[in-house]
Symmetry: C2
Subunit: 222 residues, 2 copies
Amino acid sequence: MVRVAVCLAGCGVKDGSEIHEAVLTLLSLQRAGATVQCCAPDADQMHVVNHLTDEVVEGESRNMLQESARIARGEIVPLSEIFAADYDALIFPGGFGAAKNLCDFAVAGADAVAHPEVKSAICNFLDDAKVLGFICIAPAIAASALRDHHAVVELTAGNCPDTHGALNEMGVKTIDCDYTQIHVDTQNKIVSTPAYMLAENINQLAVGVDALVSKVVDMCNE
Amino acid sequence: MVRVAVCLAGCGVKDGSEIHEAVLTLLSLQRAGATVQCCAPDADQMHVVNHLTDEVVEGESRNMLQESARIARGEIVPLSEIFAADYDALIFPGGFGAAKNLCDFAVAGADAVAHPEVKSAICNFLDDAKVLGFICIAPAIAASALRDHHAVVELTAGNCPDTHGALNEMGVKTIDCDYTQIHVDTQNKIVSTPAYMLAENINQLAVGVDALVSKVVDMCNE
């Protein structure tokens, strides 16, 4: 049975994991017969955003692991307990938390660095030739984590020239594709898809997420 | 085009809406071609639960509308702005928020009362012969809202004798069915399904949610 870790970054598109992307990833993995373990760094989010007003909530902090546990229904472990040897793949859903909490791409752009545990996990999965999946803006995490790594990776980046430019500057080869498509970096066993960077509704979103999960699981079985 | 309102109760199974149930409801509705409007009361949750430890977080409060906006990606309105005349159906996903925030069934049992706006919405949709859908423990909301109403309604209630007993005491005829099934109260145009009261994983959950949404949309078109 294929074993897949899903790394979350909180609970909500504006300060954590994009909830639809995370839930549809879990649904696709379950349908593909994979064993799933959710995880997240046991660390505070960059900030808390009121999803009704888009305003940052001053004086409030939320912990990524605790908030991600909402999506995982409590079935979650700290990212520090996820080892590449125990899994076939690691998938990162998107949401601004991917670019605010798991790395600082949202504020630092091409100078972004990844959270140390995230960097370690991505490098270890890559070096162990395990499969990696990045959804929506999550390719920015990969770019941040791998900036000092010898691998040159190929990743989707939506259709915003600034995002492509920043990832290119970080050493990534960016690929154009629409929400129905995935890109497979066969050399590095990395699958990515633009998801809500381009999908306009949850049904469109499901097409790309299903395609990514299906490919990830197939590659685990190869 | 069928117009459906989805009433949320926060964001997370232990103190708000069950996230998987809410997201899969939105996905099914989109796939069925319905126009969807999320809503929630603009009021505080009963409490905040740390979903990692199951402990109540002392001194913290969260607002249902703001937290539900995480699931709705910001596209949400106060329940007070939802009028039966503008919609064909109203669906309530489950999660403890259904029984803690939208009514107080989790603490009051058979003595439960519904949040005033929730009671008003349910009674208005029922009296206007619109379709109502209740997922998981959400039938407790219907029972609380309709306890003084002349209608005798039929609702699913999982397989816990205490839940059946409490709903029966509130005047509801409870129906046994498994997670793959829905029950249709044709007299009152109410559809319900046990969802995560019986489903053991997200794939099993999707079966019941899809069946409920499909039936609700069909009944709107009749």
